[in-house]
């Protein structure tokens, strides 16, 4: 195994009584795109700040490029974007990049112009940073993080707040960087469908603990099959199924059953509903969407709540849209 670019061993961090990171261990090897997945408040940003030496661990060890984070020499080979991008608002895009060039001790003045060109900032190069749109501010943040062609890029929620076009652009950029420039990428996100598109390995962080890690190409082996049942009267059908020992969940425009006997014998479900006078309009065996899988994994609510437990239309809408994302990701693998 290659020497890890990032090595984290039993790292913990507390803020008062809150445990932000709890005994996390992980390795990231060269060329990987490692995605750290977690809900908001899971500890992703704290772990990233630990990696970058911005906060000190209460316990454990963090090494970047084989050196402790207190060793400044590693930072010349690391680029990062933590949380929302920031820039000096009174400086232009070019001046902001020039500041970074000098602080990064980059002798080649051309890197500023190259970064402006690479990140499509040409039309805004002499515009003050305060006047940039969110998308262009994100581009500037990435340009600052990547202008020195680092060996390791650490990106915290890199597509947060971007419109769909911006999300695609940043995603494409990350994949290209990793592929063409052999960069190692460590990124965090709370959107599984998004990281599934770019990551080679995924780690799931919840309440400060790393629940599991797996190769991204095994993601689809982990999602559960389920039976989608279309009916006219959802509440009545749910009652019938509950009486039969199922735990129907609202979703997919009807009901969802994830019990093994339902998935393996949908005809028995259909027969039961027909006999009860509520014949199904549709039966479809599918895979659960990525978000449902993720929420089930972390044990979060709304990961597919039972009917009658208050799941709302808006949640259902989210469910459907995230499902579409998941299916698209599946096709794109």
């Amino acid at each position: 195994m290659a020497t890890p670019v990032i090595s984290v061993r039993a790292v913990s961090k507390r803020y008062g009584r809150v445990v932000a990171v709890d005994g996390v261990s992980l390795d990231v090897v060269p060329g990987e795109v490692y995605a750290l997945l977690g809900l908001n408040g899971a500890g992703k940003t704290t772990l990233i700040r630990l990696l970058l030496g911005m906060v000190r661990p209460d316990g454990g060890r963090v090494e970047v490029m084989g050196r402790p984070t207190s060793d400044r020499s590693v930072w010349s080979r690391v680029g990062y974007l933590v949380e929302a991008p920031s820039a000096y608002p009174e400086l232009t895009v070019r001046e902001n990049l020039e500041v970074v060039r000098r602080l990064r001790k980059l002798a080649d003045r051309e890197v500023v112009e190259q970064a402006i060109e690479t990140f499509g900032l040409g039309p805004y190069a002499d515009r003050r940073a305060r006047a940039l749109s969110q998308g262009n501010a994100q581009r500037l943040g990435l340009a600052k993080a990547l202008m020195h062609r680092p060996a390791l890029v650490v990106l915290d929620e890199p597509v947060n707040g971007l419109d769909p076009a911006g999300v695609v652009e940043i995603r494409t950029l990350v994949v290209e960087l990793a592929r063409e420039h052999a960069m190692t990428v460590f990124l965090s996100s709370h959107v599984l469908a998004e990281v599934a598109r770019v990551a080679t390995r995924i780690g799931v962080l919840h309440e400060g603990r790393l629940l599991e890690e797996f190769p991204a190409d095994r993601l689809w082996d982990r999602v559960r099959p389920r039976l989608e049942v279309g009916v006219h009267d959802v509440a009545r059908a749910a009652g019938i199924l509950r009486d039969a020992g199922f735990a129907p969940q609202d979703g997919a425009g009807g009901l969802i059953l994830d019990e093994r006997r339902a998935v393996e014998h949908p005809e028995q479900v259909a027969t039961m509903l027909v006999r009860a006078g509520e014949p199904p309009t549709r039966l479809l065996v599918t895979q659960e969407d990525l978000e449902a899988y993720f929420l089930r994994l972390v044990g979060a609510p709304n990961g597919g709540q039972s009917v009658g437990q208050g799941i709302g239309e808006s949640v259902d809408e989210d469910h459907r849209s995230s499902r579409a994302d998941g299916e698209e990701a599946g096709r794109g693998r």
């Binding site: 911005m54 400044r72 009174e90 970074v100 602080l103 001790k105």
Partner: protein, 263 residues
């Protein structure tokens, strides 16, 4: 390290040049200098000032004379009391803005050390404060010449300049504490609060006669603002200011290097 400080200073100077804050401080100090000149103008001929509406009919001025020695002392007082606020504003802006603009995180994992960044900010603040003090001095000299104040001599000028420079330097050292406060407070607000609290406390403590032992009172005491019958701060007072300033500078470097930067 020198190269790192130079790079960080370049960045700081660029930020200062592009900001409106320097103009605010220049305006504040220029007004202070001009008010000093106006005060001398009034002192020269109070009746004329009354006729011009610059002095209330019943107002009486005492304790100052319209000459160079008084004018230098007045300039030093402006530098000491106004300087604590204006130099403090400079320091709070240089450090606090990194937190308010959330740019601090971009300074924390760089080949340039955090200590170099802090030292660069302090050096830029020093240069900025020297320019402001020079501005007040220039206005003082120009206004004094225009008013043809009596009592000019090399000895008076040297003494006045000495007090002025020493006061400015001590005030700058005290202002470093506000940079530390802006860092620990992660923004402007706490530091501004501390600045006003210390300036207020300095006046009260000096009035109670314990100014020597409260460093923020010392620069004003050096200018003789408490009156001729009050003793100056002496070496203990000056040593206290130097210690506070150096401790604040060291504390700021240590805080940037070792604190948890979680915002």
């Amino acid at each position: 390290m020198a190269g790192e400080i130079a790079a960080a200073m370049w960045a700081e100077v660029l930020k200062v040049r592009r900001s409106v804050v320097p103009w605010v401080t220049i305006l504040a100090f220029a007004v202070g200098g001009l008010v000093g000149g106006l005060f001398m103008f009034i002192l020269q001929d109070p009746d004329r000032a009354r006729r011009l509406g610059l002095l209330g009919t019943k107002a009486q001025l005492s304790g100052q004379s319209p000459d160079w020695a008084s004018y230098f002392a007045l300039a030093a007082q402006i530098s000491a009391i106004g300087g604590l606020l204006v130099f403090g504003l400079v320091m709070i802006w240089l450090f606090g803005r990194e937190f308010s603009d959330r740019t601090v995180k971009d300074l924390l994992a760089l080949p340039t050390s955090r200590a170099a960044v802090v030292v660069a900010k302090l050096l830029v603040a020093l240069g900025w404060c020297i320019l402001l003090a020079a501005l007040v001095l220039a206005i003082t000299l120009a206004a004094g010449s225009v008013l043809r104040l009596p009592g000019w001599s090399a000895a008076t000028a040297l003494h006045g300049l000495g007090i002025f420079a020493a006061t400015g330097l001590l005030t700058f050292l005290l202002a470093i504490t506000y940079g530390l406060a802006a860092s620990i407070g992660r923004g402007y607000l706490a530091a501004v609060g501390i600045m006003f609290a210390t300036v207020f406390a300095a006046q009260v403590i000096a009035a109670l006669g314990f100014g020597t032992w409260f460093p923020w009172s010392v620069p004003a005491l050096m200018t003789g603002v408490a009156g001729a019958d009050q003793a100056g701060p002496g070496r203990p007072g000056i040593a206290g200011v130097v210690l506070v300033g150096l401790a604040a500078a060291a504390g700021t470097v240590v805080w940037w290097q070792r604190a948890d930067h979680n915002r």
